[in-house]
């Protein structure tokens, strides 16, 4: 039912279904419709145009009524097409099930044969079969069915192989059921839907193929005519009486199109990725939908986020991933942003340069200022010119973030040449320097590697080199060490730390690991459910966390060499950001929460020197 609903939501598919249904009903009813005899010739009435008296669609070269011939021809074409599909499905599926169920040598031999049949362009095989059997509608039907058997065999075998290894088949075998019974009663019910879908997608082809063979004069023989042979016979009068060609031709077109529409609808309805919107293309820049004008610039930070809000709009839901976030970072400073997965830290980082995937992402408010210039709502060209040049990113998993088909050297050179007019040779020299700077041994040989030829640590060094390519002012590192093992992680961190000191880089370091914060960051902001809940110098927060969430988060981290300490997981889960509660988002999981925590909105309250701030009514540590 849900499937039909989905199908009908797709208007084109519904149209296809209706047209197809109409054609099929008319074809079925043809013998009872008040039509003239399709085979009665009347040489006096040859080539009458459409809308002549008594002949709605006119007559053909022998004076036969075209409407009647069209209906009978359609009936024949549909019957032959469906019959071919049925035969192909029956035989092909049997072959596929046998190959898939028995496996081993049986499978091997059968699939080799199938591969060989598939090595033919389909019509050659069909022509060879018709040549052997002789022209005729039944032989054309056999040829078309035979040509499509390999298609069914291969598809159904694939499904069967995955099913044959399931527990219920083993259970049936243990219960002593014979192979035939297992296949018929256990396998077939599970395979049947796939067979039906494969049939529905190929029946259009089969109708077209049999019509094609008839068109060539190899299918139905006079006086019997399907749509293909009607068209074939009309061809000699194409110039003088084009309507005799147009009538059957358009009918074939309508049938094939309605089946295509229907097939698309079925495919879309069955594809979960389309339903979840996972096949939408992210634009070059995140969409902006600011509810209020951008806030005025304050202070002179290198990079500052003011009141930034980003949400994801999926169908009717709105996920508020980032809510009114303020952050700033100065040259040579490292700011840590820490939080659980889903706390909005990555989205915050991506929002700065408009890299949040959009749709569904939308920046709904605030400003992101680089040296005072607002980047939210800046033109694509402005943003593009700054991406990688002023503000560069390092992402989490270098295997998926480096392009798999380009050599790492080419990816580095491209980063450079996107912003600087240099020759290929100069870019390569610079790329070698960069690889050396991130301490990749043998840069001369490594530069021509593809990403899959490198280790995880080496790949992440390449990512860092790429971020450094244009000497940016700010690097935003989004969990750059999460995918790496601990020793490599330590090396990468110390590399980043050195680079920051040498080049006066500002780093925004996104992580869920307090150990990393302690090692690298000057200041840290703790995020929860899209908000900053605590902010201040790293050491101060590590020593005396003020927000209950920050404290609990730290308690999750095991300390080495600190003896036995109770590790505490935080009970419960973060709230869903499409249904945020009033008051404190952490209240549900907080053991100190009171009634006051669940109403209104709780502000981020800073100390008088502005060094620390916490969003809590009852902080663990008094900050003043």
């Amino acid at each position: 039912m849900a499937f039909l609903k989905l199908l009908f939501r797709n208007k084109l598919a519904a149209a296809g279904l209706i047209i197809m249904g109409l054609v099929v009903v008319l074809a079925v009813l043809t013998p009872w419709l008040p039509l003239l005899d399709p085979d009665v010739t009347a040489t006096g009435d040859r080539f009458k145009p459409p809308f002549s008296a008594g002949h709605l669609l006119g007559t053909d070269h022998l004076g036969r009524d075209l409407l009647s011939r069209l209906m009978w021809g359609t009936r024949l074409s549909l019957m032959v097409g469906f019959a071919a599909a049925l035969i192909a499905a029956l035989l092909g599926s049997t072959v596929g099930i046998v190959a898939g169920y028995f496996g081993g040598r049986t499978d091997n031999i059968i699939m080799r044969a199938v591969d060989m049949l598939m090595a033919f362009p389909y019509i050659l095989l069909a022509l060879a079969i018709v040549a052997a059997l002789g022209p005729g509608l039944v032989n054309a039907l056999i040829a078309v069915a035979a040509v499509n058997i390999p298609f069914f065999a291969r598809n159904i075998r694939g499904v069967t192989v995955s099913l044959a290894r399931r527990e219920f088949i083993d259970a049936a075998k243990l219960a002593g059921m014979g192979h035939l019974r297992i296949i018929v009663f256990e396998l077939l019910p599970n395979v049947a839907p796939v067979i039906v879908i494969a049939m529905s997608t190929t029946v259009g082809w089969m109708i077209l193929e049999t019509a094609g063979l008839s068109f060539l004069g190899l299918g139905s023989q006079p006086p019997q005519a399907d749509l293909g042979s009607m068209l074939g016979e009309a061809r000699s009068a194409l110039i003088t009486s084009p309507h005799t060609s147009a009538v059957p031709g358009l009918m074939i077109f309508v049938i094939v199109m309605s089946i295509n529409l229907l097939g698309d609808g079925v495919r879309d309805a069955l594809d979960p990725r389309l339903r979840s919107g996972a096949l939408t293309r992210p634009r070059a820049v995140t969409q902006i939908d600011r509810q209020q004008p951008a806030p005025e610039a304050d202070g002179a930070s290198l990079l500052a986020l003011q009141d930034l809000s980003t949400e994801f709009r999926v169908a009717k839901r709105t996920y508020k991933a980032v809510r009114h976030v303020n952050l700033h970072v100065a040259p040579g400073e490292c700011l840590g942003v820490i939080g659980e997965s889903g706390s909005g830290k990555s989205v915050t980082a991506l929002s700065i340069m408009g890299l949040v995937a959009s749709p569904p992402g939308v920046i709904t408010g605030g400003a992101g200022r680089f040296e005072g210039q607002d980047l939210i709502g800046a033109s694509y060209e402005t943003l593009r010119a700054m991406r990688g040049d002023k503000v560069a990113y390092i992402f989490q998993d270098p295997l998926s973030t480096l392009h798999p088909l380009y050599r790492v050297g080419d990816q580095l050179c491209e980063a450079i040449r996107s912003h600087h007019k240099v020759t290929a040779r100069e870019a390569r020299t610079r790329a070698l320097e960069l690889l050396a700077a991130v301490r990749i041994p043998n840069p001369e040989s490594r530069i021509d590697n593809y990403p899959h030829e490198m280790s995880g640590g080496m790949r992440q060094r390449v990512s860092i080199a790429m971020a450094l390519a244009n000497d940016p002012e700010v690097i935003i590192a989004d969990e750059p060490t999460t995918a790496l093992d601990v020793t490599v992680q330590a090396q990468i961190l110390s590399l980043l730390n050195d680079l920051r000191r040498e080049r006066q880089l500002a780093i925004i370091f996104i992580t869920h690991d307090f150990g990393v914060v302690a090692q690298l960051c000057d200041r840290v902001a703790v995020m929860y459910a899209g908000q900053i809940v605590e902010e201040g110098p790293s050491q101060a927060i590590l020593d005396r966390p003020a927000h209950p969430y920050a404290k609990r988060l730290m308690a999750c981290v095991p300390d080495l060499g600190q003896g036995r300490r109770e590790l505490e997981a935080i009970p419960g889960l973060p709230p869903a950001v499409d249904r945020l509660p009033d008051g404190c988002a952490f209240a549900e999981r907080c053991n100190k929460a009171s009634q006051a925590c669940r109403v209104g909105s709780i502000e981020l309250v800073g100390t008088s020197d502005g060094r620390r701030a916490v969003r809590c009514l009852d902080p663990e540590e008094s900050l003043s």
């Binding site: 080799r112 090595a119 033919f120 059997l133 199109m257 890299l355």
Partner: protein, 315 residues
């Protein structure tokens, strides 16, 4: 790379052998005996026996296969009785014409299809996307033989832009411009369906790729969007588009049969249909084996192209 090509060629040998077996078996299914078919009204028992002996038809099936295969390998595909000339000569001559038609169509559908798919994906849900999706839907639903007939009616008969049929003008033709004028309509008619299919596959391949993390990386580097689409994204998408091109080449080759009939193009397809109607079995057999073998070799080229594009494929 050479070793990879060599490996693929060696792997193709069993497939080629399989093709010969299949064609041979299909032809062996022919009811009645070919001798009677060849002799027609001269089919006296003595004549039949003699022809059977001459053709080696009195020997067992397996022996006959190997005799036939032996001849095949040495380039002897037998003699066409309807044309009274060696099958190989006829097939080679006709295949040239088919190659021109199908080759041009294939290049056309590959370029236009990929381009349409890329634009469609880059402008997803935009006007261009909707327009392309609609045109593609129409395109993949029109049978090439019907489209060809309508094109003749419109562009040759009414508008007189192109010649109605044939490959060269009978008088004064024979040069390249003449060929192109004759080629324009059949090549277009032949490429429409494949263009549509390729456009669809390219669109979904592009959409899949555009969501990948490395596309975000390219954008974060400041690579221009045009280069992101036509470089980074298309290159990855090609990995899944190329196999589709290989399959569509088969469909173009198949569709050529219809188009050759409609436009009186002197290619292999028309030769095969004529041969079937005249029951010239050796000509059918030779033509089918030859074209199928060419298609297998073409698919090796596709695999090689794939391995050149994707360094992750072990060569």
């Amino acid at each position: 790379m050479t070793s990879y090509i060599l490996k693929r060629l060696i792997a193709a040998v069993p497939v080629l052998l399989g093709i010969t077996v299949i064609v041979f078996l299909i032809m062996a299914m022919i009811p009645g005996d070919p001798a009677t078919a060849i002799l027609g009204s001269y089919a006296t028992p003595e004549n039949v026996a003699r022809i059977n002996r001459d053709l080696g038809l009195d020997k067992p099936l397996v022996v006959r296969y190997f005799i036939w295969l032996g001849n095949l390998v040495t380039g002897d595909l037998g003699r066409s009785f309807s044309l009274n000339r060696p099958v190989l000569d006829e097939v080679l001559e006709r295949f040239q014409a088919t190659l021109i038609l199908a080759g041009v169509s294939f290049v056309l559908c590959a370029i236009l299809g990929i381009l349409a798919g890329v634009v469609s994906a880059a402008r997803q849900y935009g006007l261009a996307d909707k327009l392309i999706t609609f045109v593609v839907l129409i395109g993949i639903s029109i049978p090439s033989f019907f489209l060809g007939m309508m094109m003749i009616l419109t562009f040759a008969v009414n508008l007189r832009w192109f010649p109605v049929s044939g490959m060269y003008a009978i008088y004064g033709g024979g040069d390249l411009p003449d060929l192109l004028r004759h080629l324009a309509m059949p090549a277009t008619a032949l490429s429409v369906v494949a263009t549509g299919v390729i456009a669809r596959m390219s669109r979904s391949a592009m959409l899949e790729v555009l969501r990948q993390d490395y596309i975000r990386t390219a954008r974060a580097k400041g690579v221009h969007e045009r280069k992101v689409i036509m470089g980074h994204a298309l290159r990855s998408a090609m990995v899944s588009i190329i196999p589709v091109l290989g399959i569509q080449a088969g469909f173009v080759l198949s569709g050529a049969v219809y188009v050759e009939i409609v436009f009186q193009w002197p290619g292999v397809g028309r030769m095969l249909v004529d041969a079937i109607l005249k029951r010239d079995i050796l000509l059918v057999q030779g033509g089918v084996v030859f074209v199928a073998a060419c298609y297998v070799l073409f698919n090796i080229c596709v695999d090689v192209a794939q391995s050149l594009l994707d360094p992750r494929i072990k060569t």
